[in-house]
Structures are given as C-alpha cells and as structure tokens.
Subunit: 132 residues, 4 copies
C-alpha cells in the first residue's frame, strides 16, 4: 500500500490551511511508501533553505517510520544514534516529519514541513497527515 | 519576477489533464526564477526514475532559458556543447522542459515533465506552461 | 528584486577595505535572491578552506533570511535545529553570513565571509552588506 | 607562482568589457595555480546554468594546462579521452576556458567564461587572459 497523488495533494491542501492559520509560510513535501517524492508545495515567500529540509524530513520519517523529532532525541552527543544524520544523503532529525497512515493504520508515506519554528512545522505536518 | 505557488499549481493541473488525455502517467515539476522547486506532482504509477528527470528538466530549462530539447541538439558528439550535461549537478537535455513566461513575456520559472515518450513529455509540459 | 552585479561588487570592495583594516585575508562571496553566486573574491594568502565556507555562509544567510550565527545558536546539541547543517548540500551556521537588503528593506541577496575569527568574519560581512 | 586577486579582477574587468562589446551576458570565473576560485562575476541577466559551467571551464583549463576546447576534441566517442568529463566532479570540455600565463610564460591560473555561443565564450575568456 502506498499513498496516491490525490491523497498527497489532499494532505498538502490541509497543511497549507493550517500554515495560513498560524501565519507561517511553509515548504511541504509528501513521499510515498518507497520514500520517493509524490507532491510538493513551497508557499510564496517561504524560506528557500526549507525546500530541502521539508523533503528530507518526509524521507526521514518514512525511512524509520517515526516522527523525525524522535530520531533527534536519539542522535544527540552520547546518544545511541549519534550523528545518524550523515546517512542516506542527509537526514533531518528535528520535528516536522510525520508518517502518514491509511485507515487500517498501515504506513503509506510521510509528510515533511519546514519554514517556521519546529513546533509550527510539526503542527502543520500533523494537519496534513491527519487529513488522510 | 518569479512564479507564485498558485501559478505553479495551475500549471500542474493543466499538465495532469493533458497527461490524462494522452493516457500517460507523468512526473511534473515547476521551478521558480531561481531554478528552485515550487511545486511537484507524481501521478500514480508513473516511473520512479522520472521523478529526478522531471526536476532536472525544469531546472535545465530555467538554467538556460530555453526548451531542454534545444540543448540536446547542441550537446551531441561533435556538437558545440558536447557533454554539457555534466554541469550543475546533472542536466537533462532531451525534450520535456520548457520555460514559463508571464503575460509580459518575462521568464518567471520553468516546467519539467517526464514519464512517457519525449514527444508526450514535451506536449504535457507545453500544456502546463501555456496555462500561465 | 535581486542584487545586481554592480551592487555585489560594491559590497566586495567595502568588505575588502574592512578586511585590510583588520589585517585579515578573507574569502568574500555574494549571492542573489535565488541563493546563486553573483560575485566572489579571495584575497591573496587567504585560507583555501575558507573559499567553500564563504560561499556556504552566503547561501545559508539567504536560505533562511537571517545571520548565519543565529542558526548556529539553534543547531547545537539539544537545540531545536540540531544538525540542520546536513541540509542543502551543507550549511555553515557560525557567524560571517548576512542577508543584504535594498533601501526598502527587501532582502535581495546575502554576503558570506570567511578567513579569520568569526568576529572578524562577521564584521567584514557587515561592512559589505551595509554598503548596499 | 600563482595569480593575485588584483590580476584576477583585472582579467574580469577586461572580460566584461569584451562581453559588452559582443552584446552578451557572461559568467566569468578565474582560478589560481591550484585550480581554486579567486574571483567570479555573473553579469545581470546571464544564464543561471552558466555559473557552474564558467567555474568548471576555468578549473578544466588549469587541470590540464590547455584550452578547454582541445580536451573536447579528444573526449569524443572513439577518442583517446572519451568521457573524461566524468572526472574531477565534472569537467567542461568545450571552448571558453583558457590558462592564464605571466610575462615569463608560466601558467599562474585560468579563466572560464560561459553565457553565449562557445565562440563568444572563448573570445571573452581570451580578452581576460590576455590582459595579464
């Protein structure tokens, strides 16, 4: 099972709405079960550097089937996954990446959001993931 | 002047419609005036390998402000731009990438399409670019 | 709005003057609104390794529209943006990169300086950015 | 012996003048004896994709101490250096890169120009190299 383009675009629509409510400008990426990009949107005026970060957050969330912030908790100095960010062409391990599940609870992809505080990034990603 | 997300999404909508009429499954990428990704869509079942090609076609079209196929005509063995594809982290120089202009004729971004024959790729890209 | 070559070269002239007053040898890079290089100068005897750092500082400052040192304050172990440096092909998050604004206050590019202490790097970057 | 920043900037000034006479918009890069960038300028409106090509031409010319076009003559299908462009992170082997010599005839760096036809690129590079 993998996410469809229609689902990915629905996630982006909901993420954009939430971003608007929070008065933020976001980069929003959705990857499929294979961690490959399905849909992407950069809101006007969003940080250029967040383009790559949003995609990397989505990939990271699907690479390990967990929220990106959880990985960051393990990758700190002295932690069990110290500097795991060097793998896979670069991971992003702070909040804003969330797996996307279907109604059966199967992971079918992931969403990554970047452009504001990590709290806002996570909230916008959650709005997108929850729409599916 | 650079393309807005609204314009980029409009280009993708029109490109997807044309892809449907041609019974093809496409990866469609839109970049802004700085050659940075603004919006992307991969239709269900489209070739995975075309994801990167679509993005590279869009970038290539904006890098040189011309249709990608024109570059390929110059980069053949014996041609003046032989192996130019080694620059910029990898160019794609066959058809499917087209600059996007505003109503004044200024280039504000580019669209890249990959997933079928180069003739179909070009036709779908043209449908997207013409919608702006 | 993006920086012109004339403005970028003016920023470099002022940065070089400041570098001379501080008795330092700097690499100085200026990028445009799309984070692409516009002008660059490496002063005689400046560290070779600072060439890439200066360019990455300029890009980083434009990627997030803030001074590079601010990002470094957030990317420390335990911080909200820990290891953000793995994105965008490599960020530099210590001081020396500053956005460049036009007279209306719009960001039109950025300058990055590397070759001495981060305090000197920042001071030289500021001399360049302030000249526009 | 290696080129100084003053010499590199002089080369760029002369290259820009020639580019203006030819009514072209160029990216111009100068590298030192170590093939590392010393100075760079992108003229307003010059192709974005030529930024990387200009730098690669300058590096290629210094890597092999010859005009880039000569390498392209050897790198064709069936030629002795077929696909040498895959080395060194990507070479550019069509005209526009020229070694820079001092008055004793020693090679002290190279200039690379991109933004127009390869004939114009070469002519502008030659104007820069000849100024030293």
């Amino acid at each position: 099972m993998t996410i469809s383009l229609e689902q990915a675009e629905k996630a982006i629509v909901h993420a954009k709405k939430k971003a608007g409510k929070l008065d933020t400008k976001m980069n929003i990426a959705v990857v499929d079960a294979g961690a490959n990009l399905v849909a992407f949107a950069r809101m006007d005026g969003a940080w250029l550097g967040s383009l790559d970060i949003a995609i990397k957050k989505a990939k990271t969330a699907r690479f390990f089937d967990m929220n990106t912030g959880l990985i960051g908790g393990l990758s700190q100095p002295g932690g069990p996954l110290y500097n795991i960010e060097h793998s896979n062409g670069g991971l992003i391990s702070f909040p804003g990446g969330i797996p996307i599940k279907n109604k059966k609870g199967e992971i079918i992809g992931a969403i990554g959001v970047s452009g504001s505080t990590v709290e806002n990034d996570h909230e916008v990603a959650d709005a997108g993931a929850s729409a599916i």
